[in-house]
């Protein structure tokens, strides 16, 4: 069983996370066919990753998904399957897509983000069970199916005739491969591992590839700690689409928290991520700068926090938690309630516990950092450079 994960938003040119087909449908089809042909035949399945997709329009399904599924049915791309994963039901125009798939007599199996399955274009909700049954049984008679699904025989007959038209049933039934790969996909823990693994691994791989970690440095961080290794995350965020994916990844964890404002520091990285998250959560951005007199943060551009605002604190990197603590102080001064903390990379090895609030990080790393008295570089009398990480007023 080989499953290939493909995030098609990476190849969409125009609107990034919203799937609207315009002239790009054809181009995307070519990419998708090349992905399909890269899958090994017999047991290849392509997982379309919908994790960062914010909405799917009917036009996209009509011009893109339907032709691809039709050619799959005709067997033009070999013995392959396409399955949608990480689908958020609220973000689909469900009725329109369902109608469209039914009109074209097609089925599209999707796995939802919160577990469970959704068969688009199915005549009824029992179709998944029907598929499993037909795959397992030697005899796919209506009578058997009626017993299995506990429905009338006439209804079972109609389900069977519907499913019989589809390749997903017709060629696979009662063969040795059977439903194994679908069942593997249905196992949500396995699916979570696969997807989570892929995003974190991609982030860490990009950090490595862009040489974002500076080794053999000697910085003094504002918290007083000394760093031998320093993470320049901006080298990863240079890729606009990847930074948008990070923003959606972080925002997704807070989508039910009704965030009003995003509190962050006015640095380029944080502003870009805050815009992406704010766009997704429909929240406002409050960038903060360092006060000239005291070591405290104040909102930039005279923006005021409102009493009782539900705030999300965003930093690109959590090192010792110094900046997060400043932002927490800013929130409490302004009367905002902190609902969560989001960070791209956590360097603290979970030593900094913000136990009261929900903390979401995309990846964790371990870098060489020393507390003030214990720096071996200072012992060797190597001069340090102050790391300027905060903008001043």
């Amino acid at each position: 069983m080989t499953a290939t994960l493909y995030d098609m938003t990476m190849d969409l040119k125009d609107e990034y996370t919203s799937l609207v087909s315009r002239v790009l449908g054809e181009q995307l089809q070519v990419t998708l066919y090349s992905k399909l042909s890269a899958c090994p035949s017999d047991d290849g399945v392509l997982l379309l990753d919908f994790s960062v997709v914010t909405s799917v329009h009917e036009s996209f399904v009509d011009e893109f998904l339907v032709p691809v599924l039709k050619s799959l049915e005709r067997g033009e791309a070999g013995d392959k399957y396409i399955v949608g994963v990480n689908v958020d039901q609220e973000r689909l125009n469900l009725k329109g897509i369902d109608d469209l798939m039914q009109r074209n007599n097609l089925l599209f199996l999707t796995f939802l983000k919160d577990g469970g399955t959704l068969l688009l274009g199915s005549p009824n909700r029992q179709s998944i069970e029907a598929i499993e049954f037909v795959h397992k049984s030697e005899k796919e008679t209506a009578a058997h199916l009626a017993v299995q699904l506990n429905v009338a025989e006439s209804e079972a007959q109609s389900i069977l005739s519907f499913l019989g038209k589809h390749r997903v049933i017709r060629e696979r039934h009662a063969q040795d491969v059977g439903l194994d790969f679908f069942q593997a996909l249905l196992d949500s823990s396995e699916r979570t591992r696969l997807l989570k693994h892929s995003f974190q691994e991609e982030l860490l791989e990009r950090i490595d590839r862009q040489r974002a970690i500076e080794r053999n440095a000697h910085y003094q961080l504002p918290s007083g700690y000394h760093a031998e290794e320093f993470l320049h995350l901006s080298r990863v965020l240079d890729d606009a689409r990847f930074s948008a994916r990070i923003a959606v990844f972080l925002a997704d964890a807070f989508k039910n928290d009704e965030i009003d404002v995003i509190l962050t520091v006015k640095t380029p990285n944080n502003l870009v991520l805050a815009q992406g998250i704010g766009d997704y959560l429909d929240a406002k951005v409050v960038p903060a700068i360092l006060d000239q007199v005291e070591a405290r943060l104040v909102p930039a551009s005279n923006i005021r926090l409102k009493q009782g605002d539900r705030a999300l604190i965003l930093v690109d990197v959590i090192g010792t938690g110094w900046v997060v603590n400043l932002l927490l102080a800013l929130a409490s001064n302004g009367g905002a309630n902190v609902e969560g903390i989001a960070a791209v990379v956590d360097l603290s090895e979970a030593k900094v516990g913000f136990t009261l609030t929900k903390t979401v990080t995309a990846a964790s790393l371990t870098l060489k950092m020393y507390s003030p008295g214990e720096c071996p570089l200072c012992a060797q009398k190597i001069p340090w450079i102050p790391a300027r990480i905060l903008p001043r007023a």
Binding site: M10, K13, D14, E15, Y16, L221, P222, S223, Y225, A227, F230, L231, H232, L233, S234, R235, D238, D239, A240, R241, S243, A244, V265, K266, T267, P268, N269, N270, L271, V272, Q275, G278, D279, D282, A283, K284, V285, V286, P287, I289, V298, S301, N302, I303, V315, D316, V317, I318, G319, T320, G321, W322, L347, A387, R388, I389, L390, P391, R392, A393
Partner: protein, 228 residues
């Protein structure tokens, strides 16, 4: 033009982004008005409205790199535009007043570069970047900005320049080598900060604001991450 007018009112006037006072951009360029883009991008919805208009004129181009001379608001807009092109974003570094093209920027002769910023004031930073791009041998598709207040004609840049709002007559920047600055005569020079407490209109008129094209040392090296 009519829709642009309404958009300008909702984005800039309603957000109080136009600051009244006396602002000095470089030694010779003064203005009574400053446009604080931070207040516009405070509302994330407004950036989407602007981005669509900034992207539209260059839709057909195959842009590979997007460069911005601004490290805050311009950088956010550059990211939004680059997302639509699937391009990489680089921000120019400033050290001791001179704009450097980014250190890790590898522009090759095959690259098509688009310059993005929130606004063109005097156009100095854009000119520097344009000459750097020309030195590297890359093609520059053009410049796309929200606001132009440039006292010079935009054709002087030698590339295609697209702006959403041309405010060079409504909120002008005065070249004091050519014209007299009214504010200099009536107001004198009082230092104030952009992010200071909001002042009453009359007091605000007495503000003098130096826009640092030559940054202080704190701005010289921009943080590449907030490792604390």
């Amino acid at each position: 033009m009519e829709t642009n007018h309404i958009l300008f009112r909702t984005l800039f006037l309603d957000n109080e982004a136009i600051r009244d006072g006396h602002f000095v951009f470089t030694q010779w360029f003064h203005s009574r008005f400053l446009i604080d883009f931070g207040r516009v991008l405070h509302d994330t919805r407004s950036s989407n409205k602007l981005l669509a208009k900034m992207f539209e004129p260059f839709r057909g181009e195959s842009v590979t790199k997007v460069i911005t001379p601004n490290i805050t608001e311009g950088y956010v807009l550059a990211h939004g535009v680059a997302k639509k092109f699937n391009a990489k974003v680089y921000r120019a570094d400033r050290r001791e007043g001179i704009i450097y093209t980014p250190t890790d920027l590898e522009i090759s002769t095959r690259d098509k570069v688009l310059l993005v910023d929130d606004g063109i004031n005097t156009g100095n930073s854009m000119r520097q970047l344009l000459s750097d791009i020309a030195k590297a041998g890359a093609t520059c598709c053009g410049i796309t900005v929200c606001i132009s207040r440039c006292p010079f004609p935009l054709s002087d840049f030698g590339v295609r320049v697209e702006t959403i709002f041309d405010l060079s007559t409504t909120y002008p920047i005065v070249n004091t080598q050519v014209d007299n600055c009214d504010q200099c005569a009536t107001l004198g020079i009082v230092a104030a900060r952009l992010d200071s407490e909001p002042l009453e209109k009359e007091k605000e008129r007495l503000m003098f604001m130096k826009v640092r094209l030559k940054p202080t040392s704190a701005y010289a090296e921009w943080p590449s991450s907030t490792v604390d």
